[in-house]
């Protein structure tokens, strides 16, 4: 058997190569043909170089956003699945995206235009919404004596999702027609950030989450035995659960504030990765980050080239892949 260290290195190199290739190649593809030589030609002033502007203002930030959001959602999915001991959990199961959605809906309906620390209104409101949701879910889960039971957590998350969904429907009802359409597009996800600023803002949050994920890898293995068994294996179960809950929520909240709630990444990628590399979280986590990045970047390329110049939202592409994927899983088990 290859040692864990070897497996981690091989998997990281493999998926890392895939991610790197996607990030390098994706900006070269698009609905418009660009002249790469001209785009990279320094002698042409940037403000006149259309090819360069398409490459560096439209496509590159979009590709990087896809990589960051894909990596974040995939790894957050792994961590939530480990926390809830359920491979069907998603980053959105515990209400993070419902909170983000409510924040964004409110910002759109009431036409908020303030920026917050230089962040435009909708991402700021969506991040604030996800923080509120996480706080409420945690508070509800802790209200029951005995710490963070995963059943109670799940129930709290489902409750919050239901409640916030009702509020979202209400806000949508109050909105006028154009706002409504904008909301619907936000809900399906959009990677066209056209700026490095949201990426730079979200990057520290994602790095913190990834650092905690690295620390959580072994505890997540133990948590899959059940909380009592994990405890007798010598870990502080409550601390590990809290760390998992907050770090995965942070990664999800940051990802959703960049690009909206893109579905299926957080469940398809972990499943595929586990099929390929096994269940050990020390291998699954780095593989998911890298494969998630590559996956979403590629889905976005498909979405923006298939019926150009009309764009298929990336959330639709991930859903089109996700649906049959689960059908296949179901039939396979049966």
């Amino acid at each position: 058997m290859r040692s864990i260290r070897q497996r981690i290195l091989i998997v990281s190199a493999g998926f890392g190569g895939l991610a790197a290739a996607s990030i390098v190649l994706a900006p070269l593809v698009g609905s418009t043909t660009i002249d790469l030589a001209r785009a990279l030609d320094r002698s042409v002033p940037f403000s006149e170089n259309t090819d360069a502007q398409i490459l560096f203002i439209a496509r590159l930030p979009r590709t990087l956003a896809g990589a960051m959001v894909g990596g974040a959602l995939a790894s957050a999915g792994v961590v939530f699945q480990g926390l809830l001991r359920n491979p069907l959990a998603t980053p959105f199961t515990l209400g993070v995206s419902a909170g983000a959605a409510l924040g964004a809906m409110l910002a759109i309906t009431f036409g908020w235009t303030f920026g917050w620390l230089g962040i435009p209104a909708i991402p700021a409101a969506s991040f604030a919404g996800s923080i509120s949701a996480v706080t409420i879910v945690y508070g509800l889960a802790r209200a029951r004596h005995g710490g963070l039971s995963t059943n109670v957590l799940l129930l709290a998350g489902v409750t919050l999702n239901a409640f916030f969904s009702a509020l979202i429907l209400f806000v949508q009802f109050l909105a006028d027609f154009t706002d409504l359409y904008r909301m619907l597009r936000w809900l399906v996800g959009d990677l066209d950030v056209a700026s490095y600023q949201p990426l730079a803002t979200a990057l520290p949050l994602l790095l913190v989450s990834l650092a905690v994920f690295a620390w959580l890898a072994r505890p997540l293995n133990l948590l899959s035995l059940g909380p009592d068994a994990a405890h007798t294996h010598g870990i502080d179960v409550r601390q590990a659960q809290r760390a998992a809950f907050f770090s995965a929520s942070l990664a999800t909240g940051a990802a959703v504030s960049i690009a909206g709630p893109i579905g299926f990444v957080g469940i398809v990628v972990p499943h595929l990765v586990r099929l390929l590399v096994g269940a050990d979280h020390r291998v699954v986590l780095p593989a998911s980050v890298l494969f998630g990045a590559a996956f979403l970047v590629c889905c976005d390329v498909v979405g923006r080239t298939l019926i150009a110049p009309v764009e298929i939202p990336v959330g639709v592409i991930t859903a089109i892949i996700g649906g049959p994927f689960f059908l296949w899983l179901l039939l396979r088990r049966g």
């Binding site: 940037f46 403000s47 006149e48 259309t50 036409g111 908020w112 027609f177 764009e311």
Partner: protein, 284 residues
């Protein structure tokens, strides 16, 4: 636009009989463009209720509101005992319910600029104001022609007509496609729609598309009051796309006048506003 000629004739007959019976016909209009048309052709006194977003002429502000596209208040509409109700073509449920109640409907759908005049004429026939409608439609046609003449022969700048986007960000941009009254207005106003090839009324424009199509002018149509300071910030949000000619030459404009987005009697004025923005020299 009338979909069913039989219904039109029946409706006109009912209205005619109502007029003949010395009961003034009661009209409810939840479509801002159609409401304006009704008032402009002299049927204003017959309008007993309007939609949530109706704002012109000022008389409508004192009228009762019965909802709009998404939330028409059927009970209230029925309680007002109208003789005609204007509905959007997509409001099939509402239309069926009104039909069952024996209330005639006038169906409307956003379309091209020429359809505005056609709708005015059809509406005029429907409410027994044929002459006034004809006069109004002809006047609008004349005004549009005049605008066209003013800008004729001038170079038509490539124009991006934005109808909505996220605040302070170049995201979620909705622009007029190559079909519809906004596109037609732009043409009359002497502009070349960069999305003329997209056969849809609206296009979600990505940064890449905008950079690639290099508009020389960007016109943002917004309804509602936006303070000047806010407008400046919004215009500055385009600043990142420096290779776009419109940004480089500072030809990014905000128009918050509702006349540019309501396809009604004042559409020629709205077109004129756009034309002045594109070709200021032609209007000195």
């Amino acid at each position: 636009m009338i979909k069913n000629r039989a219904a039109a004739i029946a409706g006109a007959a009912i209205l005619a009989s109502a007029i003949a019976a010395q009961q003034p016909p009661r009209i409810i209009s939840i479509i801002p463009a159609v409401t304006e048309m009704l008032f402009a052709i002299g049927a204003g006194p017959h309008v007993v209720a309007v939609g949530t977003f109706d704002d012109y002429p000022p008389e409508v502000r004192s009228l009762e509101r019965v909802g709009a596209l998404l939330d028409p208040d059927l009970e209230r509409i029925l309680a007002l005992k109208p003789d005609l109700v204007t509905v959007y073509a997509s409001q099939t449920d509402l239309r069926q319910q009104l039909e069952r109640a024996g209330i005639p409907t006038f169906e409307y759908e956003h379309a091209g600029l020429a359809d505005v005049m056609a709708t005015i004429r059809t509406l005029g026939a429907r409410v027994g104001r044929v002459e006034q409608a004809e006069g109004l439609a002809a006047a609008i046609d004349r005004d549009l022609d005049a605008i066209g003449k003013k800008v004729a022969g001038r170079r038509r700048p490539r124009t991006l007509l934005v109808i909505g986007r996220e605040a302070l960000a170049i995201r979620g941009i909705y622009a007029s496609g190559g079909v519809g009254f906004l596109h037609d207005m732009l043409s009359v106003a002497g502009g070349e729609n960069i999305f003329a090839d997209v056969k849809r009324q609206s296009v979600q424009a990505t940064a890449e598309l905008i950079i690639a199509r290099r508009p020389e002018v960007i016109v943002e149509l917004r309804a509602g009051d936006i303070p000047a300071a806010q407008q400046k910030k919004e215009i500055a949000a385009w600043g990142r796309l420096t290779s776009v000619p419109a940004v480089a030459s500072a030809r990014v404009y905000f128009l918050t006048d509702p006349r540019t987005v309501v396809p009604g009697p004042r559409i020629a004025e709205g077109t004129g506003l756009i034309a002045r923005t594109l070709h200021p020299e032609a209007f000195k």
